[in-house]
Subunit: 607 residues, 2 copies
Amino acid sequence: MNPSFHKCWLSDTPDAVPRTVREAAEAELIGLNVPYRINVTNGGDGFTISREGDVYILSGGETGILYGAFRLRTLLINEPPAFREISESPSFTHRIINHWDNINGNIERGYSGRSFFFDNNDIKYDTARLRHYARMLASLGINGVSVNNVNVTVPAMKLITPERLPKLAEMAQIFRPYGVRLILSVSFASPVVLGGLPSADPLNAETAAWWKEQMNLVYSYIPDLMGVVVKADSENQPGPFHYGRDHADGANMLAKALAPHGGYVYWRCFVYNCRQDWRDGDTDRPKYPYENFMPLDGRFDENVVLQIKNGPYDFQIREPVSPLLGAMKHTAQALEFQIAQEYTGQQVDLCFLPSLWREVLNEDFKIKHIAAVANTGNDYNWFGGYLAGANLYGYGRMAWDSSLTPEAVADEWCSLMFEDAEARGVVKNMLLKSRGIYESYTTPMSLGWFVRPATHYGPDPLGYEFSQWGTYHRADENAVGIDRTERGTGLTRQYPPKTAALYDDINTCPEELLLFFHRVPYSHILKNGSTLLQHLYECHFKGAEDAEGLLTDWTALEGKVPEEIFSNVLSRLRLQVKNAREWRDVFNTFFYRLTGEGDRQGRKIYS
Amino acid sequence: MNPSFHKCWLSDTPDAVPRTVREAAEAELIGLNVPYRINVTNGGDGFTISREGDVYILSGGETGILYGAFRLRTLLINEPPAFREISESPSFTHRIINHWDNINGNIERGYSGRSFFFDNNDIKYDTARLRHYARMLASLGINGVSVNNVNVTVPAMKLITPERLPKLAEMAQIFRPYGVRLILSVSFASPVVLGGLPSADPLNAETAAWWKEQMNLVYSYIPDLMGVVVKADSENQPGPFHYGRDHADGANMLAKALAPHGGYVYWRCFVYNCRQDWRDGDTDRPKYPYENFMPLDGRFDENVVLQIKNGPYDFQIREPVSPLLGAMKHTAQALEFQIAQEYTGQQVDLCFLPSLWREVLNEDFKIKHIAAVANTGNDYNWFGGYLAGANLYGYGRMAWDSSLTPEAVADEWCSLMFEDAEARGVVKNMLLKSRGIYESYTTPMSLGWFVRPATHYGPDPLGYEFSQWGTYHRADENAVGIDRTERGTGLTRQYPPKTAALYDDINTCPEELLLFFHRVPYSHILKNGSTLLQHLYECHFKGAEDAEGLLTDWTALEGKVPEEIFSNVLSRLRLQVKNAREWRDVFNTFFYRLTGEGDRQGRKIYS
């Protein structure tokens, strides 16, 4: 194993092989020499660290002691803590990581190597590595992990059969002492494919019975399975629509199979028409999640959790918050983030996502579950680029404490990663400005997409413009963007009236969301006095320059951070500078060719 | 084997398994009951069919008798021939088919199934099918066939080793009785990869010796190998540039290894910078073949044949004739066509290529060799779409007689394919108008490219615009096209002065080549009185309509052609209509968004 294997925020691996959560907690406390008591309570996961006299940890549950131990480690990393008592309890009860690992070993949208769960259509893992991963997740308070891709292939369907369950149960036992429960992605078509039933119709008694029996079997192997995640009727995955049923029919049928075991059905709301005709300007993809699910509010079983992406599109660098989030008053929901930087730099370009997540978490949704797509893989450093580790760290911390600021997260992570004080300051600053920089040289003002369809990396102005995916900007010689106001596709009507009114008016709509909600003439004057066109140019000149600034910042850290981290990040920042220049030039040329209008400051735009 | 296996122009398979050309010729003559004599001569391949008294065939060689037999069969297909004597001899001495078959069984740019030479990284073929193919080629006068892709992978390199040569020799023997000689694609890197030499430098004595020995070995298995084809320093293939040598150094080194055996080196001139920066407007890809090779005229060995694509770009629906063709006075050349419709409809859209080839063959190049990329595959009907068979037929016939008109070729092929007189007339008419229709709804006036990079099918206006491939149209709000005149990139200077002057002047440049040679404002008035923009719109409305016309034409033939052919072609024409509409709408919308100017006849252009 590479010695740098665990160069994340946990730079040590304890020798312990805990069999229970209590043993895991005790192993973490050995070096700290701190006693604990399980009796007082702020919930099983919450804890109190007190230093009245000696330091000790109190919790109502073993996991609380484990989380408290990790918290204390962090607090002690630099100096003895100044607090007298800290009490914490998590913002979300279920804090989940979704892996998009295919059972063949590839990871969909994975940018840090292959799967550490699967290979060659089978379960295959390195026990020590998996235990280290479980501990990493525990150190952040993560308590659920789905291991296989939501796009479930036929070999992956077999995970819920006796052929695979024994091995899966072994995997669950590696996670269990760290308080992490398994989740499985299942295919709605399983009763047909695995069970040989004529139909997967959720109202078919035979189908429901098959799922019940199958889930009984799964729980006989993994009694604490947190549940299943389902991508149904989405991007060509099978679902209840095929049988003329709706999502409530589908989800409830599964929920009844899981309820006796206390399991949840995480039912994804990423449902839209993925065979749109670009000529059809009335259909508007981001309206679909709300349109499909809102009318079903009240019809879902208690253990169905609708899992909703943070924005109505798909993990773009900026989107408005999904109107569906928090809107359903009688349905449990999970907020879904993506840690993997599919559209946000692919763990090459620096993009600190807590800045984005902060904006979403500012909303008061009353949501208990949170999930996010993993950015880890079998690369020796877990994340491809070391700095991408800050995103997993940030996700875990904000899932635990949704009031945390990006500054606090960056501060914490840097203090765990770097010994050198200057390095900590520089990296923190790089992280905090990175999302704005990435947004600036790619698609500012929520324009979105504009990427190469095959890879989702790098600029391709018309790559999605004449495709079936419903992601159009319709830039012409006068204007760009889609009118989604009440005068356009009407998406704004999915928001509460006050918010809708705010978005409907081009003068009150937050400018960073302008091109999502409005079709805007290039001559439109923004609050800073620029025309839209000039501002788009400016963003790209500035963004590319700032990307170079990140490289300069980092270069100054040579010798102040471990050489391996230095060169790893350096190579990625160099690629980022190249990518940013390409975005700048392609983007600006595209709009220059449309408008014939150059940069008002005379900077170079290629013809 | 599917009964429709050989529904090409040869609708029968003789039982004979000829061991010699004479036996093959005799097998063809059995049914005709015609005597032959080998003594008089118009060359070994030429023949005379005389009917002074009884019909008989005369030739100076056995292959001439074989070709004469096939010719006679064609003449007799409808009625007894009216001629007294026909004498023919071929326009090109070497009439070659290049397969781009990968040894893993895929075919690069293949649209009719998998390879019938290779599978699973080995030689694998059906003997009966291969014999039928050899006979098909012989019926057209083809006398050389390269079996493996010019992009030579490591496993394919091994074709010239004892591991593969015995099987390859067996394959050669199947072709031999039909007068078809094998050719192999070889990699310039073979001495390093196969031979373990430190260098493939062509001026290195060890390298040259390795090739000599290797070729001696190859010829010991296949004594009549026509030669090798080499793609060197082209699209990331290895070549002499790597060692600071030029193409003459590279080709001559190989030529010396082949010369003792009478073999040729077909050295492709498809060499250009495939890592261009789109921002660089000075570099001009189609200038490269001439620039790379013209200065080397006189330095090539006699048995080096420079193989030159018909146009300076890459098999677009229309290009000017390559300025390199015929320009080198002291170098043997081969003209290269593509029968596979990579950019011209992929054997789905109807596009009768003899119409295109006619324009090229009108030039008097004094060239002895001709080659073309095959369009055959393991589909039971050889061509995917039945009508694509007319292109292989047309290539063979025009390689034999370069004065043949598309009308004559279409006439002949239809008479061999269809019994029904109306069907013959309708299909002939469809074939003859098809190239113009395809050109009209895709890229008229030699605009070229504009296709989806991944597939080369369907429209993607900016798919190549910001890529490394050097294929830009640079359309902006005022104009489109590249100025390649003496005022621009200067490509026109590669032509003789009179031709250059013709192309340089926008008023004398043939309008079908306008956007290749000129950057033209949309307001430019064409000879028909239209503006360029309106003409581009018109072409697309008309082209899409005419594509529907092809479908209508064909639909009327139900019951008049074999059902299997009817439905096969019907399904493809339906796809073509869809493709043509997509081209029309995407193309027109792209230019409408750039210009804000609609169709003057008010036809629908989507915004």
